[in-house]
Symmetry: C2
């Protein structure tokens, strides 16, 4: 889809102009598979073959001033989240986290106490997900960054963003919009009590490893992604990769009681806000009954919010059946402001 | 060696005060093995068990203003080196690079052309070493950083920093000091022609994968490390981990003709300068003859520079047999200034 022409026209432009996703698209054509590469870049995780079995491999970074603000994200929480965002990518492909290596950058004046707390956050999060931190690197850096590469056991069956078919039902776990709402509140009231429920959704995400593992292992889902950039943007990834479209009933998009108290019926943040780390999947109609029957095994709610269509693009349908203008914004941190 | 007391006294101090290695030592006690962890943190690579065979796993980062200066390190070279420093860790354990994931941070105003060049550098370096880039992450960051996690096939036999025994002979590949000398020259004359031989040693390191693989696979070496922080510092790692000491004949430390032209007989930069990415190994006496017989299979020079001793610490012996004061400085980028 992205040919050499796209790459050429990118010359002389800055990343801010092109946007993260535009840039990543031009990158993907550069990376071709090699021996042992089962699924290359462009999915939540790559799939590689090690010792005769499949492993998932992914990397993600948190950067101070971009992904977190030290005024409200404690070092322990930053460490924890930097692992969990990777675990969420693994959850999206139904994997089991095993081994990670950690690359940390901090200023020379960073307190050892804070660095220990940061590491404790990483190690505890890894343990909670069944993984071990096996290596690390510490660099000097003006701003704090934490980059974690995570290796996970792949399930027997591989599910990517590519398998959605017209007629499949679209489901999402848990609730959406809390993280974006928390961010909005923290930006206007930075002194907010950091243990409040909404900020906890932003600062202490819980990847849906159990749900992801069941949904993939049971053969129920045809495509899956984690909702890190916002429902619309991430559904867009599934649609483009699967060459389909989708219709979403906005009133069906699940939100928490805390969200509803603040936003009422307004689902905009739930549709476009990032960092919820829920799972969105497509389920072929013959599997819907099995999914409904096995809800209890997911460890969280799952809600049907729409269906996959033959016609391209994501169409939103309002509470009265009317078509709502698609909100195209998601979280692209090269274009939007910092937290 | 670093108990809880060490950790406690670190509280309230900054990383700059404690130093990178001091800090890493306190970190290590936090990380214990888990299922599938064959060798935990603290070596050039961790060793993990995937699909019934051993893999090496390592991570390293380059940060703008700390590890490179954009005035003389082009984006392509930064990309190339960020892969090669990881490949060097793999070489130190005799492995074969296979899969890497890349985490990049750049400012919004960074030119797409430069980012493409950076990535091209990474991808080309990976290919040259037999590895595939299978995933990546792009973040906004005030300063450029590139963090790469590399997974490599482990050799049947595991060699770490721990196997040196008194009487073993100390060897080093290639020549030392060029990178440190190049850095010194670039800092005083930043306009230096970037393709000159010395800067190329700094900007385009060539990890000793072939030599590492042969030295480990043949069973010749008892311990090995890559010389990234300087000969003395890295030899210190081997000595501490193996609970031994070493005597080094300074006049035997191999330097290039270019180094000799500038520094004459002064070996200080060759002893303490970092970033040469050569291999240093210890060879039991019964293996010395085999090593000498198979020199041609290494793809590079290898020079005997001293021997392992029972008494702790590294002792330097000058050209006339006199003991030279040990130079204890290596490259600790939290303590030394930036490039």
């Amino acid at each position: 889809v992205f040919g050499l022409a796209g790459l050429m026209s990118a010359r002389g432009r800055t990343i801010a102009e092109l946007g993260e996703f535009g840039f990543l698209s031009t990158l993907l054509q550069r990376l071709r598979g090699g021996a042992g590469v089962v699924v290359g870049p462009g999915q939540d995780c790559a799939v590689i073959r090690c010792g005769g079995r499949n492993y998932l491999y992914t990397v993600d970074a948190l950067v101070e001033g971009v992904h977190f603000d030290p005024r409200w994200a404690s070092p322990r929480r930053v460490g924890r989240k930097s692992f969990m965002v990777n675990a969420s990518d693994v959850a999206a492909m139904g994997g089991r986290p095993r081994f990670c290596v950690v690359s940390i950058g901090v200023p020379p004046a960073y307190a050892c106490r804070d660095l220990h707390a940061l590491q404790r956050g990483i190690v505890q999060a890894a343990r909670a997900c069944g993984a071990a931190v096996v290596g690390g690197n510490l660099s000097r850096s003006e701003r704090v960054f934490v980059s974690i590469a995570l290796l996970a056991e792949a399930p027997r069956r591989l599910v990517t963003r590519r398998g959605a078919r017209p007629g499949d039902q679209v489901y999402v776990t848990g609730s959406l919009g809390d993280a974006a709402l928390a961010l909005q509140q923290l930006c206007t009231k930075p002194a907010m009590e950091p243990s409040a429920a909404l900020p906890r959704r932003l600062l202490e995400p819980s990847p849906r490893l159990r749900a992801g593992s069941f949904l993939v292992g049971s053969g129920i889902v045809s495509a899956m992604i984690d909702v890190s950039d916002g429902l619309l943007q991430d559904l867009g990834h599934i649609c483009r990769e699967s060459d389909v479209g989708a219709t979403i009933r906005t009133a069906s998009v699940p939100v928490s009681a805390a969200y509803r108290r603040v936003q009422g019926a307004d689902r905009r943040l739930a549709l476009s806000g990032g960092e919820d780390y829920e799972l969105m999947c497509t389920v072929p109609v013959p599997q819907v009954q099995r999914l409904e029957a096995h809800r209890a095994r997911l460890g969280c709610r799952i809600t049907r919010i729409g269906e996959v269509t033959r016609s391209q693009g994501v169409r939103l349908v309002g509470p009265h059946g009317e078509t709502v203008d698609p909100v195209t914004c998601g979280f692209d941190h090269f274009r939007s402001g910092s937290q």
